[in-house]
């Protein structure tokens, strides 16, 4: 986290002094992180929609670039914009599309680097699930176990784990919605 903070604030400082390449590097650096946040909040959206939301967030960061306080940390500023725009984007899209459970699980397994900010957010959401569901979500989405492995450990069939995971994710999506003012 600290590295990220120093690195990004150095890039933005150079960018504000007129270095367009530093700005491009900053935007490239934040993109996977933002993608992680969008994905964590919108697991039931198609990847193309997720990418649209990501681009909306990038545009907002660019449009409100001048609101950064050069003397304050970058991350809270960035996360405040990202959260505001992500919530806004999901609200405008209304209810989301449902994807097959297999695709969902695959998406989760394919997530290469669970982002710290997104993780903090989802950890809080996971905490609101019942303990067994929370255990399944943690095992699959954060620790990267396969549903079969989790099932073996918990004495559940592969299919039962997938169904439980699906329900837990829907519950988390509902929790996110409930939070939005």
């Amino acid at each position: 986290m600290t590295n990220r903070e120093t690195e990004w604030s150095a890039l933005l400082q150079a960018a504000d002094a007129g270095d367009g390449r530093a700005y491009a590097r900053f935007l490239h650096a934040i993109t996977p992180v933002l993608r992680g946040i969008v994905r964590a909040r919108g697991r039931n959206l198609a990847p193309a929609d997720q990418e649209d939301i990501l681009q909306e967030v990038l545009l907002a960061i660019h449009a409100k670039r001048h609101t950064r306080d050069a003397a304050a940390p970058v991350l809270p500023w960035l996360y405040a914009i990202a959260r505001h725009k992500v919530v806004d984007a999901f609200r405008r899209r209304g209810t989301a599309v449902h994807l097959p459970i297999e695709d969902l699980a695959e998406d989760l397994l394919a997530d290469p680097d669970p982002d710290l900010l997104a993780l903090r957010d989802s950890n809080r959401l996971i905490g609101q699930l019942d303990p067994r569901a929370a255990q399944i979500v943690r095992a699959v989405s954060i620790e990267g176990e396969t549903p079969a492995e989790v099932g073996g450990r918990l004495g559940m069939t592969d299919g039962a784990v997938r169904v439980a995971l699906h329900r837990a994710l829907q519950r988390m999506a509902a929790l996110v919605k409930g939070e939005d003012r």
């Binding site: 007129g18 367009g20 491009a24 681009q55 545009l59 660019h62 449009a63 609101t67």
Partner: protein, 211 residues
């Protein structure tokens, strides 16, 4: 559009002028002072202003809205930056609200029952509410416009604070004209006028300050 292409397009644009919060505050206070100045130029301050200003309750009539204006103005311009916790700092308003409440209760306790609300007449109310609302209208609108350059993550709250700052500023100017020195009158009715502008600005802010 590919995200990489979007980034390339964004990076090609020049760096913007950074937001300077004291500058926003100065613009808002400048417009509010201008509105008060025009008002006092047209209707004039009360004739006995200098003599009246030795009485504490007359001083408070001007000092209290000025304090609210100062605190609300600073809270409002801070909303121009995106914040994770937009409500942080609002407790600062408890000080002037506490003073207002104390002033009201003290006046209620020390005045004879028949003298408490004797000055509440329809013309007095219309003058007080009407003129504060009139002076506030332009500054409150402009304050919202000025905040539009920011990125408030709580647009209604940012609007409310902008309205609170401008209407409390308007009440400060109005107090130099106003002859009602009873705290039971001015705390209540200045408060009502300020409240109306604050609520209206919150509603306007939730639309105008979206981004």
């Amino acid at each position: 559009m590919k995200t990489d292409d979007l980034i390339a397009a964004l990076a090609a644009q020049p760096a913007p002028q950074p937001l300077w919060l004291p500058g926003l505050a100065l613009r808002i206070i400048g417009i509010t002072a201008l509105a008060c100045g025009v008002f006092l130029l047209v209707l004039g301050p009360r004739a006995d202003l200098a003599a009246a200003l030795i009485r504490p309750e007359v001083v408070m009539k001007t000092a209290l809205p000025a304090l609210i204006c100062t605190i609300a103005l600073w809270l409002a311009v801070r909303q121009a930056r995106p914040r994770l916790h937009p409500r942080a700092g609002l407790a600062g308003l408890a000080l002037p609200l506490g003073i207002a409440l104390g002033l009201w209760l003290l006046a209620f306790a020390t005045r004879a029952p028949e003298a408490r609300f004797a000055d509440v007449t329809p013309p007095a109310l219309a003058e007080c509410l009407g003129l504060i609302l009139l002076i506030s209208a332009l500054p409150a609108t402009m304050a919202l416009r000025i905040l539009q350059r920011g990125a408030p993550t709580a647009p209604a709250l940012a609007g409310a604070l902008a309205g609170l700052a401008s209407s409390a500023g308007a009440a400060t100017g109005y107090s130099l004209f106003c002859m009602q020195d009873n705290p039971l009158f001015y705390v209540t009715w200045y408060g009502a006028a300020i409240g109306i502008v604050t609520v209206a600005s919150a509603v306007a802010g939730s639309r105008m300050l979206r981004w």
